[in-house]
């Protein structure tokens, strides 16, 4: 695809322009941390939007895929004493390969969505236990202190703000990737498979190939985001990449609007805001997430983004 045919929707640029101004409005370290988490989560939700939304593979191991790359990159850098930027690609390759394998195996074995969910859930548990068990390598439950990553322009902007902008640009690229993926051959093939798998196969669409590609792209995004998160956070532990992260991602996806371009951004802003304001509740935060999940799934499956879109269409009187 040539650069000229790259599709960059304007509202996305507006979204990111607003995000880019945020640290200028408040450089309070706590706020910048929150902004970073919002933007990072948005990249995870785009990945989920590709895997769960576009290719309808219910992966419940997204945080594990992010974790695999974060651990791989950190451990390689620590053991060989090399720059983390050199080991991040290894982490991405590893996670993408695992994601592709999970996808390939479930398609070849003809597992339904529910079994894909169970297999990937089991995979999450295996990941957690391997990390806990390989204590000499991963420091187990206490977590591994990640090596220091040099963020572009950190000498000028300071570490915190520099990491924020790096991750912001990463998420911007991910959102543009998503916008183009949906319109590409891959996106159209996935849409055909979604609406009628058998017919798609009959027309000659390689179901296995496109689903595996979608899973690898999504896993790759999760992997880079996971590695960034590890270096930004200063440490990685099983708790950081636990199943509750998957739940948060799914909440964001459903709230923002599954298979929409702006849903991941809206969803991650809303859910991170809710999580931060209910932080004082301790264990009840979990209850709150649960209520949100039940209510959203039962009443609000189309998401905020599509409601706004419909309202906008109505207002401008276009009505497609």
């Amino acid at each position: 695809m040539s650069l000229r045919s790259l599709y960059v929707p304007k509202p996305i640029l507006i979204f990111f322009a607003v995000f880019a101004i945020l640290p200028l409005i408040s450089s309070n370290p706590y706020h910048v941390r929150i902004f970073t988490i919002v933007v990072l989560y948005a990249s995870f939700v785009y990945a989920a939007n590709i895997i769960i939304g576009e290719s309808r593979q219910l992966f419940l191991c997204m945080s594990a895929l992010a974790g695999i790359s974060a651990y791989t990159s950190s451990i390689l850098s620590l053991f060989f004493g090399i720059n983390p930027w050199l080991t991040i690609p290894a982490g991405i390759l590893f996670s993408a390969a695992v994601g592709a394998l999970l996808s390939y195996v479930s398609i070849v074995r003809g597992l339904g969505e529910i079994f894909v969910a169970i297999v990937t859930l089991t995979f999450s548990l295996i990941f957690e236990n391997v990390i806990l068990g390989l204590r000499w390598l991963t420091m187990g439950e206490t977590g591994l202190v990640t090596p220091v990553l040099w963020w572009p322009f950190q000498e000028i902007a300071g570490k915190r703000v520099a990491s924020y902008y790096t991750i912001l640009i990463f998420t911007l690229l991910v959102s543009i990737l998503y916008a183009n993926l949906v319109r590409s051959r891959l996106g159209i093939a996935l849409r055909a498979i979604r609406s009628d798998r058998v017919s798609a196969e009959v027309v000659g669409i390689d179901v296995t190939r496109y689903n595996v590609i979608a899973a690898s792209i999504g896993s790759g995004i999760l992997a880079l985001g996971g590695a960034f998160y590890g270096y930004f956070n200063g440490m990685v532990s099983p708790g950081v990449f636990s199943l509750s992260v998957d739940i948060a991602i799914i909440l964001m996806l459903v709230l923002g609007g599954i298979r929409t371009l702006y849903g991941p951004l809206i969803g991650s802003v809303a859910i991170v805001f809710v999580l931060e304001t209910t932080r004082g509740l301790g264990q009840l935060t979990l209850t709150f997430l649960g209520i949100l999940l039940v209510v959203l799934i039962l009443t609000f499956r189309e998401g905020i983004s599509s409601i706004i879109q419909r309202a906008a269409v109505k207002l401008s009187g276009q009505g497609q």
Partner: protein, 297 residues
Amino acid sequence: MIHETLQAIAGGMVEVVIDGILFGLQLSLLAVGLVLIFGLGGILNLAHGEFVIITGIISVVLISSGWNPFIAISAAIFLSGLLGLALDRTVLRPVYKLKGEMEVLVGLFVTLGLAFILEGITSYLFPGFYFSVRIPVETINIMGLSFRASALVSGLISFVSLYLLLIFLGRTMTGKAIRAALQNQTGSRVCGIDVERMRTLVFFLGGLMAGLASLAKGVASSVEPGSGLELTSYALIVGVVGGVRSVYGAMVAGVLLGVVNAIASYLLGTYLTLIILLGIVVVVILYKPSGLFAGGV
């Protein structure tokens, strides 16, 4: 010397295997409720483990407010059944209106949300709480082998509960109707079975089984808030290996996994054991998604 070591291992092995069977019965009891509900309700109840915990909490609350322990625990188990019934009658109503894969998916997320709600509330209200039933005798010697009395009693409770469930499903008219509905919903409707009512009953039974599993676990070890999802995942592992729709399958798979668990942790340690168990699940799903023992209902 090698011979003696082998003999010692073999001697210990018998105890290990029996211990595994006893633990396996507990696993079967835990899984049976989940499987029943999935089979007829079409809902993979991820809040199953929370039922176990809530039974424990209610038992302790009732006992500490002066109830007779036997009555308190029975009441708690009954309430767990009612909780299942309430689940069917309230939040899952809208889910049943959906079709096919969508119903399963939405049901999965609703019960997951419910698990989070209950896990949050129970760990918030009862931090550091545990439910445990003491058995006055420490160990019991049978034919030169010694067993923990708590494990034996727990295994016995599980066995009797499972046996009663089998009798109910096999001998009574209602039980037969449930089995018919598990096999073929349309067919049973034609025969005049009220499938909706059977489903509600199955949710009640599933809750009841979770309550009994709580008692069995409370006798063998303890039940604590915050471990609900872990219990659910154990039930899920057993259910998947046995066949997610098969009650008998879950019973056999529970015992089998209990034995594998005991032998593996005896020889390899707990860390590798869990990974082996999870590995078994993955292999079973990949090679026989309907489960190893999914012959009957």
